[in-house]
Amino acid sequence: MEQKLRKPKPIFKQGAISAESIGVSIANHQTKTEIGAHNIFMGQVRADEIEGKKVVAIEYTANEELANEAVFAIREKAFEKYDLTCMHIYHSLGEVKVGEICLFIFVSSPRRNAANEACRYILEAIKKDAPIFGKEIFDDSTHQWKVNN
């Protein structure tokens, strides 16, 4: 059997991920009639308040090649662990303002449990294993480095 060479897909988008592009992505799945369940996670930049200062944006940087590799490994593992039809992952680079979307994970499966569990698995793995760095910019132009919990 011929082995398909699988290469990491780039996950990064400059700036916010638009709601419109997400609608288009959903529409693109309506020809895949083996799908019964979609699960989507979206991370949105939150206007956190810390010591009287308000977060107005997060600026993301990354080691892109390493992050693409890490997410590719997560992706392969998710396909192994769960019965999935397809998977789309995007993360922002650069500035994303409060209210805007910085992370999009879209998992489709014949069955709901696989979709839900895979989506959650991928989210936690990206937070843990992808070398992406968020700098929270405050309304007084100071900043602090985001910490994942």
Binding site: T61, N63, L66, C102, L123, D129, P131, V147, N148
Partner: protein
Amino acid sequence: MKVKITFYGQAADVVKSNSIEWDFDDSISAFGLKKSIQVKYPQISSIELKLAVNNKMVVKDFDLNDCDEISVLPPFSGG
């Protein structure tokens, strides 16, 4: 032997540099380099750092080669 060191996120912020080149007379290991970085830039020793060499995460120590590219990675905070 010469290596290129790239700092990411908070590490770049703290050392006020994105990228430097370092020359060594003797061979040095990945963890040895990490220690040297912490000595040279004591302000990052409070940050937990991971290293990647030529875009592979370092999980156990090994000797670096000439022209290796090292990434200095503070805690990840994507999402």
